[in-house]
Structure formats: structure tokens, C-alpha cells
């Protein structure tokens, strides 16, 4: 016993001991240095009680067991999935969680939620694993929202409303839980239907498109038929107008000639009359076969043969 103590004392001189001790103490105190990156915040607990919140930079704290420090990324946006697990969610085949709609249809919805840690102290100390809690709470808000909507709305026009309600509803609950989390967005990744009914839903979409096509077809028909009819109508009216004008012009023309003749006639009735008569006969008689009968005096018929007889 005394022999090993003596040899130990001989081997290690006090100077060495002091030096080693000082080094150990310095090393121990040195563990208190830590850095906080630009996108981080640190919360320091002294004997379990929150004593400081530190921003980016190099900081010092007392070493274990006095101070404890937690460094959190507060400006980086983090992601969590509703209805699917990250990072599996990065793949394309996300189906989502099955949800009942208000008209008792079953759809599967996957929502991606982005969040930041707004209050590091609350995030660390108020709730157990707040990051996983987000997904669970969002699931419940989604269920609550969709169960009050018809499936048609969920699949079509209701998407923004669902996203908005999931975001605001989840935020309200997380605030009530004092989770220190701020949601930045909730976006629906996919809404899928069971393969048993997907075809039927697709058919409804097709039918809706068919309806639109049919209506467009009818509009096209109307757009071709009506201008054509209008054109036809216009030409009909124009033709009638020209007929009217023609008739009037004819009448004016015919009567003008008549009135001129009448003027002449009234100046010299007998001469005009004879002249007209003879002119007419001149025009007519060469064309026709004529027999002149002097019946009153009982003479023989006299064929003047003013024109050769026609076969």
C-alpha cells in the first residue's frame, strides 16, 4: 500500500499535476462555447429554467450541469405530411388518408403542410413533439371539414376552401396548445378515389365535358344558321325593293310615252290615230296569213299574198 503510493508520488510531480488539472478545467469550461447559425435561435436553460434566448453568433454558457442549450432552426420552413409520411411523400405515388365526405362518399386526400417555429421556447417546452402533433391535428381538421362538404365540391371548387380551413383550423388549435408553431401553408397534393369508383367519377367529368361540347355545337349551329338566314332575308327584301322600283320605273316609262302620244293626239286626233293604226298594221300584217273578204259586196276573196304562205 505505502509502496505504490510512494512510487506514484515520485513519478508525478506536483507541477505536472497542477498543469493537468488546469488543462482539464480549461477544457471543461471550453465546452460552454457554442455558435448559433443565421437561421437559428438558441434557448438556454440554467438548472432547467429558461434563462436566455439567443440569436445568431458565437455565445458562451456555463458547462454541464448548470446550463443547457437547445438550438433550433426558426426561419427554415419545414414540411410535414397529412395522410402520408415524409419523405415518402416526395415520391409521386401518394394516395393520402381516407376521408368520409358529407354525402358519405370516400375520398383519399394528401396535404403537405409547411411551418416554421415561431416561438422556440414554447416549441421546446409546452408540448411533446409538436412537429408530429401538426400532422395529427391537421388530419382531424381535414376530417371535420370534408365531412361537411359534398364530394363534388371537395373534388372541384372546394379545394381552396379545404386548404384554407385546414390551415386556419390547425393554426387555431396549435395556438390553443401553445405549440410555438406558425403554419405557412397547407396545400392539397392529391385527391384520389378508390379504383372501384375512379372510373365512374371520370365518366362524370367526361359527361360534363360532353354537355359543354353539345352546347357549343348548338351555339355553332345557331351562329352559322342565323347569319345565313339574315343574308337570305336581306337579299329577299332587296329583290323586292328593286322589283318595286322597277315597276314604278316601268310605269313611269310607259306612261311617259303614252302621255307624249296623247299630247300629239290631242293636237291632231285624226292624223295621229291613223298614223298609229297604220304603223301597227305595218308591223303586224307582214307576219300573218291574211285573207281579205269583200263579203259585203259579194266579191271573190282576194289573196294579196303579201307574204309567202307558211308551210
Amino acid at each position: 500500500m505505502t509502496t505504490w503510493l510512494r512510487t506514484w508520488r515520485a513519478a508525478i510531480r506536483p507541477r505536472w499535476v497542477l498543469g493537468a488539472l488546469a488543462l482539464a478545467v480549461a477544457g471543461y469550461l471550453g465546452t460552454g462555447l457554442f455558435t448559433v447559425a443565421a437561421d437559428e435561435q438558441a434557448v438556454v436553460r440554467r438548472f432547467g429554467r429558461v434563462s436566455a434566448r439567443l440569436g445568431p453568433g458565437i455565445h458562451y454558457r456555463l458547462p454541464w450541469p448548470v446550463d443547457r442549450v437547445d438550438v433550433l432552426r426558426t426561419t427554415t420552413v419545414m414540411k410535414t405530411g397529412v395522410g402520408f409520411q415524409l419523405p415518402d411523400g416526395e415520391s409521386t405515388s401518394v394516395t393520402g388518408m381516407e376521408i368520409l365526405t358529407g354525402d358519405t362518399n370516400i375520398v383519399s386526400i394528401a396535404i403537405a403542410i409547411q411551418f416554421v417555429i415561431a416561438n422556440p421556447a414554447a416549441y421546446l417546452f409546452e408540448a411533446e413533439t409538436p412537429a408530429t402533433l401538426i400532422g395529427r391535428v391537421a388530419e382531424s381538421v381535414l376530417t371535420e371539414t370534408v365531412v361537411g362538404m359534398p364530394v363534388e365540391e371537395v373534388l372541384t371548387t372546394g379545394r381552396p376552401a379545404v386548404q384554407e380551413r385546414v390551415k386556419s383550423g390547425t393554426q387555431a388549435i396549435l395556438d390553443r396548445y401553445v405549440s410555438g408553431i406558425q403554419l405557412t401553408s397547407a396545400s392539397i397534393m392529391t385527391i384520389t378515389l378508390d379504383s372501384a369508383v375512379a372510373q365512374a367519377f371520370q365518366d362524370v367529368a367526361n359527361a360534363s365535358a360532353d354537355r359543354e361540347n353539345k352546347i357549343n355545337e348548338a351555339r355553332t349551329y345557331a351562329n352559322t344558321v342565323l347569319p345565313k338566314a339574315r343574308g337570305e332575308a336581306q337579299s329577299l327584301v332587296l329583290a323586292a325593293q328593286s322589283y318595286r322600283e322597277q315597276r314604278v320605273a316601268e310605269a313611269v316609262g310607259n306612261t311617259t310615252r303614252f302621255l307624249e302620244l296623247l299630247g300629239e293626239y290631242s293636237k291632231a286626233p285624226e292624223i295621229t290615230r291613223s298614223r298609229l293604226y297604220l304603223e301597227a298594221m305595218e308591223k303586224i300584217l307582214p307576219k300573218v296569213k291574211k285573207y281579205v273578204i269583200d263579203s259585203e259586196q259579194g266579191r271573190q276573196p282576194l289573196n294579196l299574198r303579201l307574204s309567202p304562205p307558211r308551210p
Binding site: R45, F47, G48, L100, G102, D103, T104, N105, I106, L133, R136, S140, T143, E144, V147, G148, I173, Y177, A196, V197, A200, V204, A207, D210, E212, N213, K214, A218, Y221, A222, V225, L226, K228, E232, A233, L236, V237, A240, Y243, R244, V248, A251, N254, T255, F258, L261, L262, Y265, E270, I271, R273, Y277, L278, V288, Y291, V292, I293, D294, E296, R310
Partner: protein, 299 residues
Amino acid sequence: MTPLRRTLLVVAAAVAGLAVWSSLVVIDATEFGVVTRFGRVVRVATEPGLRVKWPEPFERVVRVDRRLLAFMPAPAEYLSEDRKNLVVHSLVTWRTVDPVRYLATAGSRSLAQERLADIVLAAVGNVIGSHPSSAVISVDGRTSRFAEVMRSILDEARPRILADYGIDLVDVRVRQLTLPEQNRANVFARMQAERGKIAMKYRSEGEREFRKLVAVADHEKTRILAEAYREAERLKAEGDAHAMQIYADAFGRGPQFYKFTRTLSAYEKMLDGNTTIFLPADAEIFKVLDGRPAGGGGR
């Protein structure tokens, strides 16, 4: 110093060090520290920080998590008032507020959650059983009493849990609401039938709308043409009337002369190469031949 005394000194120092160490206790921000003396609770450290107590076997510290904790009880099937089966996957969040009571009745987290699950699931069953399924499943979110139903579940279970276990039941939420597995086939069949009906409705609506639009267009076309016809006939009649008036005005000035000239022009048209006429020798045109003075007629 004898070796024995030296050894005793070292041991005493070690024991004293351990005693000091074990009489200091750090209570974290996330927990309550319940100090027990031989198993009996003597005080509760509700604030975080460094605490002093009697060293180990005399006084011990039991730490109780004071954070909000969440767990998901197993999904349970319930019958609503109108005999519809619903499977509820719930999410329960809770927080210990009275650590002494909590330690005395529940003791550990797993045990506490078991108890909570029992009470909450029973409460969910009671509330769902006393509401028709339409209270939660409804197409119009505004008339849905979902939130109200959930609140009544919470109201039913909360006071009891607080009194019995020192636990504040913060929230009971329906994470997922589904139908029993055996109902799924029916639901899908119904969904299919519904969609089929809607598709058919859309298609017949399209057909109806098509026919309507085409009929309207055709009607419009007929109307346009009829109006145009009317207008055209009116214009023609107007032209005819106007012309007639002009004729009447002109011819009225010399009716006899008109009759004469018109007759002559009618002859010109009537009589052509196929016509044979027998003229009396005393016809006016021949009067000159007879030696009688021409132009003596004037009939």
C-alpha cells in the same frame, strides 16, 4: 495516519459528496418535481430551477411531464342514433395539472393513457349514440353540428378526468372518421350508382340544351325569313300599287286614246306567223285601195 483511518476518511468524503450531489435536484421547464419522503409526498416543485432536498434514501424526486401530451386510442366502432356504424379514430391531448393526484391514481403515462382512452371512448360512444349520423356527416358544413358534438364529448369526459386523475383533458378530436370495412363495398357501389346518375343527367342536360338552342335558332331563322318575306311582299305590293296609280293617272287623261293604243299593241303581240286573219275588204287599211278616202273611220 494508519491506512485504516485514511481509508475511512476517503469513504466518508465520498459519501458526503454523494449526499450533497443527491440533495441537489434540477427541475426542468418541462416537468413537475414531486418530492416524496419514504414514499409520502411532502412538496411539489411546480417551478423549474435548482432545488434542495434531503439526500437519497430519505427524500426522492419523482418527475412528472407537464407538457401537452398526445396519443391516439385504437379506432373504435360506434352506432349512431339512426343505427349507422361509424369508426372513429380519435386523437386525445392531455396535460397533467395536479401531479400528486396523477401519481396517486395513474402513476405512469401508459397507465394514464389507458384510463383516458377508456373514458374518452365511452364518452364518444355516448355522444355519438345520442346523435343522428347527420349531425356529423352533412353536405352543408354550416348546418353540421360536428364541433358541437365534439365539444359535448369533451364536456362529458373532462370534469371527471380532472377530478379523478389530476389530468386536464385538453382536447378530443376525431382524426379520422370511416365506415366499417364490411360497409365499404356498399358505399362504393352506391357511389358508382350516384355518379352514373349524375353522368346521365349531364348528358341528357347537354342533349336537352342542344335541342333547345337548335330549336331557338331554327325558330329565329324562320322568323327572320318570314319577316323578310312579309317585307318583300309589302314592297312588291307597294311597287305594284304605285305603278298602277301612275298608269291610272296617265291613262285617265285619255281613256279613249288609251284603249286605242293599247289595243294596237295587243294586236302586235297577239298576231304572229301562226295566225291567219280574214280581213274584210273594207277594212280601214284597204280603204285607200278601194278608192275611198282613207282615215274616214273614227270608230
